[in-house]
Symmetry: C2
Subunit: 538 residues, 2 copies
Amino acid sequence: MRKFVAHRAKSLITNAAVSLVKPHRQSSSSSDYHYTSRLARFLSSIPSDASMASENANPPLTAQSLNPKVLKCEYAVRGEIVSLAQKLQQDLLANPGSHPFKEIIYCNIGNPQSLGQQPITFFREVLALCDHPSILDRSETQGLFSADSIERAWQILDQIPGRATGAYSHSQGVKGLRDTIAAGIEARDGFPADPNDIFLTDGASPAVHMMMQLLIRSEQDGIFCPIPQYPLYSASIALHGGTLVPYYLDEATGWGLEISELKKQLEAARQKGINVRALVVINPGNPTGQVLAEENQRDIVEFCKKEGLVLLADEVYQQNIYAPEKQFHSFKKVSRSMGYGDKDIPLVSFQSVSKGYHGECGKRGGYMEVTGFSPEVREQIYKVASVNLCSNISGQILASLVMSPPKVGDESYESYSAEKDGILQSLARRAKTLEDALNNLEGVTCNKAEGAMYLFPRIVLPNKAIKEAESLKKTPDAYYAARLLNATGIVVVPGSGFGQVPGTWHFRCTILPQEEKIPAIVTQLTEFHKKFMDEFRD
Amino acid sequence: MRKFVAHRAKSLITNAAVSLVKPHRQSSSSSDYHYTSRLARFLSSIPSDASMASENANPPLTAQSLNPKVLKCEYAVRGEIVSLAQKLQQDLLANPGSHPFKEIIYCNIGNPQSLGQQPITFFREVLALCDHPSILDRSETQGLFSADSIERAWQILDQIPGRATGAYSHSQGVKGLRDTIAAGIEARDGFPADPNDIFLTDGASPAVHMMMQLLIRSEQDGIFCPIPQYPLYSASIALHGGTLVPYYLDEATGWGLEISELKKQLEAARQKGINVRALVVINPGNPTGQVLAEENQRDIVEFCKKEGLVLLADEVYQQNIYAPEKQFHSFKKVSRSMGYGDKDIPLVSFQSVSKGYHGECGKRGGYMEVTGFSPEVREQIYKVASVNLCSNISGQILASLVMSPPKVGDESYESYSAEKDGILQSLARRAKTLEDALNNLEGVTCNKAEGAMYLFPRIVLPNKAIKEAESLKKTPDAYYAARLLNATGIVVVPGSGFGQVPGTWHFRCTILPQEEKIPAIVTQLTEFHKKFMDEFRD
């Protein structure tokens, strides 16, 4: 009875309150409702049907009540060290003299344009024209844009149904752009590529997540990953609830990938009841920078074939090769060279517009080429892609440009080549300078960056430094990286974020600061390291 | 011993083969390796260490061995009916007279520009200039672009660190763009908005997935969804392994959302041991097109508050209001109007550049505004966002433009307003014409599209038609939709993809075909329906 009365009273008073504010409905109505709201808050203390239900109400949401897979996931390249860097950057902005350096130098992530690298003109011309096609017919456009960028924009628009760059595309991406990409893959590999095998994505990360989502059923499902690895893999496996099965790259042989190690680790995982479903290979390596020899790749393909593993080939650094004696070979080319056809090896190759000489990270373009899966499995991949409708069309266009850049004879060819070669040659010089500088430091050894965008030096830290780190509840490499940042403004990522042989310590440093800044970075790094060692030398 | 010999032999022969092809390494090398590959295939039949390991090799990957959550997921708006439409489109291309219609009219998905809607000029001007900033200083640019688009592009570039539109941004999006969006929300709602609460995303879909990933731990976790619902929600809940807890919208009262229904369903779910964590509200409704009354929204907020539910507010159609007596109120505005502050109600508002009057689906821009979560929970949301690095910068820029379009006095204001009003007024007329036409059909009743982009008519199908569908193992609404498509080329989505009261049948039809096509669509639909009813009338 009391409940009924309270309910009626609430309903009457709420109605009265609402009628009070009705004439003002067109206005922002915020102040009016403060009155109503106070009434409502008051009334909510009267037991009513609704408040009775709240006996079972959920407790407030806490981090501990979130999905434990999310809690478990870690992502070092944007982790604690970056938060510290952002804090220091704010300090510098508020109080310019507050630290012994003038700027933060972000060597934590492969983000070339954030450090001043300029975009490739031809690519940006085409993107701008596709964004605003109504200027294509205007005479001023001829003066502003190269003839081949105008022609390419027309070609691309003709490939997009209705020329609608603002429409959702096919969930795998615009068919005509996939045709272009497939032709680019064929030209690269010398083997056929099918546009129906291409899935365009917002960068490589969503493509990796998609494959993990498909392959991982429970923590009994394992994904083979190199150690050190790019933390996208550990993060994605954690988010999807699987088990990362490590295989160690051999630092002594330039981060070599040994089949005997794969066999040993596979057997160990199987003995623990883990069903290893796929092998991740990152070539050129991240964070380790090695470029695999073709013979090694053939052994890997053979291993996957024999063991029934899906080969997940992270090939986003395929354009970033600095060692003259090294060449990139796609795993698809290698497996086709071995005589394996489309039905023999389930293989996914990831590519991204974020890397290469162009480094268009902000465009979020990329694709995966998916071969060797049954039509039923392919249908499931398509379904997952379709739930997100499609990837962004600018990123799709850029992926087609990257796989089909200007050719000899095109108006832009010379300037394009000059931009491309300038960037790649400079990256090679920067890699060498930084590698040499690191190898000159006491207790530091650094393998060559044959490719990719990173160096991953090993530091033998003095015991005193390790003890100091432990007393601060930090890993020794995280402690070193934080000290380096605080002293120099240089941001590197501790090796523990990538995985390393227990008891060894590393950090990942990009080779991306602009070339004129490299000498100062070398000086700062060298001075810091010397002081650090002087402080802690055993 | 035999194993050792085989291993040695393999190694020797492979090395020989490699040395054979070495001189050709710079060439495509594909044909060379065919020789090697034949050797390798032959050798793999010799038992060796590697082939011994294959005793435990995984069986070939099948759909049944994929993640069962993926298998369970369905996504109707790109499902079977669309595959049929694509097949018919190919038929028409190959053989123009092969069907009784000239083109496929895609009314299955809210994709305005695919049906001929033109983009908003100002938005595209700014995007083009940000894609290719080096033309900003050129004199020809003044003739091609409006003065305020040039000014806006400069402003945006100044907000992006290093003016680098090709760099990864902060994982929540460029801070300056979030400032603009927050200011736009403040102007819309009359209440403060914090740029730190904004997470820019590649459209609304990834934002919804992100929240599902955070909230769902197991199938014991439930997410409250309207029925009918947009299938992104059912798909995302399935992919993340949770349980969709339905609440039915009341078709008789214009798809009203009754609190009594929420209470009833919540209790039922709790009795089944389901822990309902969040309530999804789609306003304006998809597929149902209703615009919630503010009073109703207050009741919903109160309900979430009492029951400890996260309120997930899908507000992507906030600009699409066609009923003059209706207004959009964001749930944040409503909850603040009730006196609830930032700490009182965990609330996520989803917004997208794909909808509204602009309909920029292909740009994949959007954001979620996240309020009422503890710092620890926020940190986990940020971590998940950071694993994908950032959303695409063009989409981020467009999201800022949508929330801050040209203002009175800006050069583009008049043309912008004319474009915007033209589209919205035309959509309102199309909605009314289609609604009237549907209500004129035998056995069809259709609520008004007060907002969004869809009509969701109910069809009372004759028993004979239902029996015919059953004999073909189709749901009756899927049968109707397939017949409609085969007869007219019009693609609509069967109601069963969205959910409906058992025993009722509906379809979702967008209001997006260009206005000049609407009369023909009405004629085709009317003629088809009459024939269908004549064929099956009981």
